[in-house]
């Protein structure tokens, strides 16, 4: 289980988030631009430091301000798919996926075996020699996911993984993405702007508003909000969702 209880002063507001994600659960993180969604992912991954609080994953403390503990990103074992995918453009598809294993000093034969498995499972083996910058948007998304999954992460963080794809491809990739994440059985947080992602992929959803959790509940509850119901933050809100 992932447990987050952190605070960080940002330029316009203070990010103050407390939430947890169970093993095998997919939490969809939604909210307006600049509400702190990507910052929350970066703080969880260790790419930015909170001002105070605690983050623990499967009982292992990743960050604790009281204990002055801060595990660096490379030691957190978190699979992170960036919004731009951040595929290394000077490397081939194969080298991109193998990168995480190369940092772990595994033998070449073991790396080859595991990379082959992942590339074949993602349908990327045929393009393994292509430059990462030369493949299509859908393939980039698969490479980024395969690269994050090959390290056997304890947590998955995906920042708008479908936003760079065209609408027709998105529908297909939603199903594929959900199945792939399900098979990993790790906690997963997905940032999205698209309520169709919330409905199709997520188990639960969390609405962030200026750094605070405004609503957390089932995906359908956030869907109701998104469908134009009263904002949960407004005084008249009386939805069934658990407003925090």
């Amino acid at each position: 289980m992932l447990e987050i209880d952190i605070r960080k002063r940002l330029r316009d507001y203070e990010l103050d988030v407390k939430l947890d994600v169970a093993r095998g659960e997919i939490l969809m993180l939604v909210g307006d631009n600049g509400c702190g969604k990507t910052t929350l992912l970066n703080l969880t991954a260790g790419l930015q430091n909170p001002d105070a609080g605690k983050i623990s994953l499967e009982g292992r403390v990743l960050y604790d301000s009281a204990l002055k503990m801060n595990v660096p990103p490379e030691a957190r074992n978190i699979g992170y798919v960036f919004q731009s995918y951040a595929l290394f453009p000077h490397m081939s598809v194969y080298d991109n996926v193998a990168f995480g294993l190369c940092t772990r000093n595994l033998s070449k034969s073991e790396i080859k075996l595991r990379v082959k498995d992942h590339l074949e499972a993602a349908g990327l083996w045929e393009i393994r020699k292509a430059k990462a910058s030369d493949v299509s948007g859908g393939q980039k998304q698969r490479i980024a996911l395969a690269r994050a999954l090959i390290i056997g992460p304890k947590l998955l963080l995906l920042d708008e993984p479908l936003s760079a794809l065209d609408v027709r491809r998105q529908a297909h990739m939603r199903k594929e993405l959900r199945e792939t994440i399900r098979a990993c059985s790790v906690p997963c947080i997905i940032v999205t702007h698209d309520l169709r992602d919330v409905a199709c992929i997520g188990d639960r959803a969390c609405l962030l508003d200026k750094g605070k959790v405004a609503l957390i509940g089932g995906s359908d509850e956030v869907m109701i909000w998104g469908a134009g119901k009263e904002s949960p933050a407004s005084p008249g809100y009386s939805g069934e969702a658990k407003a925090i």
């Binding site: 790419l47 490379e74 074992n77 080298d95 995480g100």
Partner: protein, 298 residues
Amino acid sequence: MASNQADIKRYGERCLAELANLEHKTIGISSRTREASLKVGLALLLILAMAFIALPVVALFLKSPLDTTLRSLHDPVVIDALRLSLMTSTITTITVVIMGTPIAYVSARFHYFGKELADSLIDLPVIMPPAVAGIALLVAFGRMGIVGHYLDGLGISIAFTTLAVIIAQVFVSSPFYIRQARTSFEDVDLAYENAARTLGASRVYTFFHILLPMAMNGLISGAIMAFARSLGEFGATIMFAGNFQGRTQTMPLAIYTAMQGDLDVSICLAIILVAFSFVVIFLVKTLTRRRVYKSAGN
């Protein structure tokens, strides 16, 4: 009567239309003329700029007697100066790359107290006249200088040695590399480094496997600029290292010395320096282009 009025009306309309058409044509012609004259002006400016740069180089080649140039290649003064120039410039470039790359990385990726001051200090030799740089180095590392005084006590003398040539070259050429390297590192999106870190790479591993290859082209251009600046260094060298054949007399100093006796010989030396600079830069560019292609292909 009615027909007459209608005719007058039609005539009026036709006149107005023709007037509008004429105005349109006038605007069209004047705008086209303006565009054409702008293009001609820009082309002239470009030709003038190219002539300004190319003319002295061409003149150098036209004025140089071929037999004297070839004979100069066997002159011990030229051989010594050429060997010293290439050796010191190569050592300088390697030193600048080794020392300047971490400095450029820190400057591009970290914010610290006094960063603006540090960056300005790094850039200072670019605007400092070379003669001033030479005097500054002399009062710092010369026998009576603030550091040189102590080094002299230990039996280490820097001024007027080949080491002084290298120090002078490092001083004046390092900003050319560091500035270019800093920009190249800044141009690499931080997301690539972040992705590498989450995949288990340490800062050092990320630097060598992600940042360095992605910034490589910029680093190579910076190194070429630093090499070219070192090869042409004159003012700081003559002030700090002197003008001793085989020890501190680099090609620019040999050209200056020859010019005081025979202009033809100095022209020949200049030709040789230009040719060598061109060959080195061309070779580095060609080799690195292949290297980058290779790493991208695999």
